[in-house]
């Protein structure tokens, strides 16, 4: 005989229904029964990372969620509507629903006067953002966007302020773009030219000749001094002194001869031009080294940043060495 254990079945179904209602209620149906207040703000910047359902916080306390995101076509501003639970702003007293709402709007009106602003903040490493309501330092520097003309019933306008965190991607893109603007081609071309010039200069036959001549001259000088040594004995000192004049004369001759030879090789001029050329090359090289060092440094720091982010991505938000979040064990 087909018979159901009706008691068990009844318990099963009832428990299931209770569990269903409980789950639905806890997962947010309770929101339906609480009265919502609405806030509106306008953003000039990109709201990348903000979505319907994103959190709205007041000084870090979650008070509601983003309800609607609209692009205003007339002024290209982005309007963000938020749903906020006014009962959170309770002032520690028990209120009736109307009182709570009144207190809420009064509170926001006064706070807006003293600089309450909306700002986009990163909610985590994923790039998602939330709307933070707080009193920011740079409020006076940024112009307040005018209140939108059409604003819903019981909506309250709170101006926004640009987020402190510029888009990290934009930053990186910008630096990479500047690096790419350096004209590597020109620099290397100039360097190559200078080196060629130097090479040509060194291979100049006149210079080679001059060096040869100078070599020969110094050999001669050596020979002369050797001869001098030989002559310079004690008993011949007198004779030397006597013949000094002759020697000096011949030296003079020699010098004159050398002078003449040097002059004919135009050593002076060649050396000067060589020196200036070398100096120019040196300068170029130094500049190149300098640039490359700078670049190296720039690349190093980018690598370092990338590495650091790889190890601890959330530091973008927290900054370096932020203390780790520890929940109390109890």
């Amino acid at each position: 005989m087909v018979g159901a254990n009706k008691f068990r079945l009844g318990v099963f179904v009832l428990l299931g229904v209770v569990l269903f209602l409980g789950t639905v209620f806890f997962l947010g149906l309770s929101d339906i029964f609480t009265k919502k207040a609405r806030l509106v703000t306008l953003f000039q910047e990109s709201v990348q990372g903000l979505a319907v359902g994103s959190q709205v916080k007041y000084k870090g306390v979650p008070i509601g969620s983003v309800d609607k995101i609209i692009i205003q076509t007339d002024d290209k501003l982005i309007r963000v509507d938020m749903q906020v639970d006014p009962s959170i702003f309770g002032a520690g007293r028990e209120f009736s629903a109307e009182d709570i709402e009144e207190t809420f709007y009064k509170f926001f009106k006064s706070e807006r006067e003293i600089g309450l602003r909306c700002r986009l903040e990163y909610a985590g490493i994923t790039g998602l953002k939330y709307v933070e309501l707080d009193y920011f330092d740079d409020v006076s520097k940024n112009p307040v966007l005018p209140k939108p003309t059409i604003i819903g019933n019981r909506c309250f306008y709170i101006p926004s302020t640009p987020s402190a965190f510029k888009d990290i991607l934009k930053l990186i893109n910008h630096s990479l773009e500047s690096i790419s603007k350096i004209k590597y081609e020109e620099i290397s071309n100039a360097t190559a030219g200078a080196l060629n010039e130097m090479k040509r200069l060194l291979q100049d036959p006149k210079l080679v000749q001059a060096i040869h001549t100078m070599e020969r001259m110094s050999t001669n000088l050596e020979k002369s001094s050797a001869a001098l040594n030989k002559v310079l004995t004690e008993d011949k000192i007198r004779e030397i002194v006597a013949r000094m004049e002759d020697v000096l004369k011949s030296l003079d001759n020699l010098a004159r001869q050398v002078n003449k030879q040097v002059e004919s090789a135009r050593l002076d001029e060649t050396a000067t031009s060589f020196r200036s050329a070398a100096q120019a090359v040196g300068e170029t090289r130094q500049m190149l080294t300098h640039t490359l060092t700078k670049m190296n440094q720039a690349l190093d720091s980018i690598t370092e940043l990338a590495n650091y982010l790889g190890e601890d991505p959330s530091s973008i938000l927290r900054g370096k060495n932020a203390p780790q979040v520890k929940f109390p064990n109890n």
């Binding site: 254990n5 789950t23 997962l27």
Partner: protein, 273 residues
């Protein structure tokens, strides 16, 4: 001696043709069955007095309350496993709290309804096929027909109604058990305070997610009951035939449940849920 011929292209093409004929017949039967079932269900809607309540309650008990312990256990373990696997990965990034997101969404959107459907396929779908198959062998189906009673209304409707009611209820239980499994991992392995895990779960999940899972389970219930009964009716008139019908019911059910899951998931995302 006859030469053994290699399979030619011709054989291959013929094979495809035969297979497609079988598939076509199968599809046609399915569509015919669906049509018949729809008519019967419409009839039942117009004449609710014609529902066999006692059988319906019996099947509700069989497929619902009796399946509860295994559903609770499987779904709890599923949540536990998911939570554990997620925890191992998330710990590397210091994002342990996201285990709640992962477990919550996976269980409510997919695994809750799916695991319950798999259990129901194994328990109820096979039982339906075997029962109707045996009745066919026993000529009980013929007897019903010759008494002028519609086997569809007599045998399928109670099972169908029972499944449509009990599957979402089971899924509610399964979902909650799965979430508890995830929480167990969060609290024990990740040292998250229970309230933190609970709050995170409540925060990220919405009633819509939960209800969509239940919608899925209703669709699965329909498929499992319909396919179980259909395979029973298609059973051949011997013991082996009933066995094959049961196997076929389970395999076909699992296939269509997964296909339906894919379609529903796409549909929900297109509709923007």
């Amino acid at each position: 001696m006859k030469k053994k011929t290699m399979p030619t292209l011709r054989d291959f093409v013929e094979g495809i043709g035969k297979a497609s004929t079988i598939i076509r017949c199968d599809c046609r039967d399915m569509i015919a069955f669906t049509g018949d079932l729809t008519l019967t269900l419409l009839f039942i809607c117009r004449h609710p007095g014609k529902i066999r309540w006692r059988e319906t309650l019996y099947y509700m008990d069989l497929c619902g309350s009796q399946a509860l312990p295994i559903v609770l256990m499987i779904c709890y373990l599923m949540g536990l496993i998911l939570g554990f696997q997620a925890a191992v990965q998330m710990q590397k990034f210091g994002t342990e709290i996201f285990v709640a997101d992962l477990v919550g969404f996976s269980i409510l959107k997919e695994l809750g309804p799916l695991m319950v459907a798999m259990i129901a396929t194994g328990r109820a779908g096979s039982a339906f096929a075997a029962e109707i198959g045996t009745m066919k062998v026993n000529e009980e189906i013929d007897a019903l027909s010759t008494m002028g009673l519609s086997p569809m209304r007599f045998l399928v409707v109670p099972k169908m109604l029972a499944m449509l009611v009990t599957m979402p209820v089971l899924t509610v239980f399964g979902d909650v058990a799965g979430l508890l499994g995830g929480m167990t991992v969060g609290v024990t392995m990740l040292d998250l305070p229970m309230v933190v895990y609970y709050n995170r779960t409540i925060e990220v999940l919405s009633p819509t997610v939960f209800n969509l899972g239940l919608v899925k389970s209703v669709v699965f219930a329909f498929l499992i009951a319909a396919i179980g009964c259909m395979r029973g009716f298609q059973s051949e008139n011997d013991a082996q035939g009933v066995g094959r019908a049961t196997t076929s019911a389970v395999v076909t059910s699992i296939f269509w449940v997964v296909v339906a899951d894919a379609i529903l998931t796409m549909l929900f995302s297109v509709l923007g849920f």
